[in-house]
Point group: C2
Chain length 369, copies 2
């Protein structure tokens, strides 16, 4: 068995990579899309559903699990894998992104962040050491350094947040005690290519087993995101996986993989599902629309997910109209399947040296119905 | 293949029966508990979940489906089996029970009931003929006569409602046009043994392929229910299945089967699930209780359902506490499995002539934790 937290690059085409990242809970075949299980459950799905859509890496959220049920309780219950019954690889974020999103109820200093719980207003404090300790309790395979995610367009703030992120990255490495978890560093720097380059160089120098790109998909344009990915791609080591945090439309996957990204996660597929929306190629279908009331067709005709193989648009629209939970479940299955299947198709295309052709075909699809 | 709507009695012990009822969508092995899919979905479960818990007969609700999405739409989509993707037997109620529950917004006469939709207040009318026409559009294997369900203790009203139910039963038979659906008659008469006897005799005389007992579990005591079941059991033909409508605790199953009942349905298992409550033997566990926060045990230790085989009480409590849908799904799986499995165990006991012993053991279980 290959040593955990090593990355094998098995094929490359242009900047796009197909690889295998080894973890204590199995191989992660990249590129990959990871479903998000914020509160130790991918919303409305059982682990059996996740197996069926061939999910592999699953995310869970440090901020949420720290508050409820508490990281110590999860540790007592044997850690996240046992608690949520997910035998495959798990990744926890550092809690940083959620904490910094708590505008008005958090206070940042060089040592950490004091914040109030969004649930009951109680006061809490995260430091790099605390974020690592919590993640060690949760017990994921991949854990994340505690970082500061700034507004993307404020240069002075991004410079400061980046410096903090770097100092905290070093503290996270020192704080880490478990050897069965891989700690990833995070590149910050907003939309500023020179800051991103500086950050990528510093983070690369710390020799994490994997590197993440944070602070994107937070308000910047797609062009700005792509520019930053290209800057970072040229600097981060090629023998480590790159994880683009919180990004996950079908277009984002293709564009990210073209620019050297290996791992993606996003709440979008399950959130869209709860808002009646389904991925269909590069566009979306709002299944709540009256036009689907008597439509006997599958949600997406060439899709082989459980939802599309078994139910009509008319039935899905009925479920959504009468607010039945099964509607969210079936749309979540379809949306997650779409991204997971897309990442698998791209992986095969890279291995067969036809990713360039794949992207050309992909981008000829319309983005509107 | 045996002709649809015939009932084979394959074993009997005391009044308890094991049988097979043949339908166009397969055999129903009785005694059986049927999950309720009010709006053409058993709440929070996929059909794959229903297969996994070995569900067979599934109910759907005429009143709800008539209002949304409309029975004509369901017919256009190929009928309920195709619409909800349930290949096994389906039963629809007549809509009567729901309509009569709409106190203050319905008006009954000898010809039918005028009522207002609970959704938008629009006016509608059900007659025996209309109830059959709607159920023919929905396309279930077993359809129900349109009946009037009265308050159980009002003798004059029960007498009148019973007479109407009888007249409507004859009209339903005349209105029926499809030969691939079996129409069941319904015995009414409140808690009054003489009215129930009169009703059972009349309904039996109409030679339905199956007979139902309505108007129970609506406020009467368990003793009163059992007395009525015994009266009706002595009169209804033994070569037709008997269906006790809307009844379904574990105790009710055992008590009903002891008194000659073959088919049960109830929303209780899924409703309890949405209220954090799980069947455990003859008692219930409220998994929301703080005592389960760090409990690594299965919900019910000797249960072999997906939920009990894969998750701890601590995890289930967490899901319920943070209001994750998966909590309802997992408790629904457990509660439905419990009743379906109990009916299967009883069937085996009857076939092996040890049902009497089974019931003795069953009733030694405590009803409180």
């Amino acid at each position: 068995m290959t040593k955990p937290f090593t990355f094998e690059l098995i094929a490359q085409e242009g900047r796009a990579r197909a690889g295998i990242f080894h973890t204590p809970h199995g191989e992660i075949q990249t590129p990959i899309f990871a479903p998000v299980g914020t509160q130790a459950t991918v919303k409305s799905l059982t682990p059996a559903h996740l197996h069926e859509i061939q999910a592999n890496l699953v995310l869970a959220n440090t901020y949420h699990l720290y508050l409820r049920p508490g990281d110590e309780l999860v540790a007592e219950m044997g850690g996240l894998h046992e608690f949520m019954n997910w035998p495959g690889p798990i990744l926890t974020d550092s809690g940083g992104f959620q904490v910094f999103s708590l505008a008005g109820i958090r206070d940042i200093d060089d040592n950490g962040v004091t914040f109030k719980s969004h649930i009951d207003g109680s006061a809490h404090r995260f430091t790099p050491e605390r974020a690592i300790a919590i993640q060690e309790n949760l017990g994921a395979d991949i854990i994340m350094a505690f970082d500061e995610c700034a507004e993307p367009y404020d240069r002075a703030y991004n410079d400061k947040a980046m410096q903090r992120t770097h100092a905290w990255a070093e503290r996270c490495i020192r704080a880490k005690t478990r050897t069965d978890q891989g700690l990833f560093g995070i590149v910050q720097g907003g939309i500023f290519p020179d800051l991103r380059a500086q950050s990528a160089e510093f983070i690369a120098s710390l020799d994490f087993p994997g590197n993440a790109i944070g602070g994107l998909s937070v308000g910047e344009s797609k062009d700005e995101m792509h520019t930053i990915l290209e800057v970072v791609d040229g600097i981060l080591p090629t023998n480590k996986p790159r994880y683009l945090m919180g990004v996950g439309t079908p277009d984002d996957l293709v564009n990210g993989i073209m620019r050297g990204v290996d791992i993606f996660d996003c709440v979008l597929p399950t959130r869209l599902a709860r808002h009646k929306s389904a991925f269909s190629g590069r566009s979306r279908i709002n299944i709540g629309n009256a036009q689907f009331a008597k439509d006997p067709k599958a949600l997406v005709e060439d899709c082989n997910c459980y939802t599309c193989q078994n139910f009509s648009r008319a039935y899905l629209r009925h479920l959504i109209s009468v607010k039945e939970i099964l509607g969210s479940t079936l749309l979540s299955i379809h949306n997650l399947h779409t991204l997971i299947n897309l990442s698998k198709e791209i992986r095969r295309a890279i291995q067969e040296n036809r990713f360039d052709q794949f992207t050309k075909n992909y981008f000829t699809q319309p983005t509107e119905n």
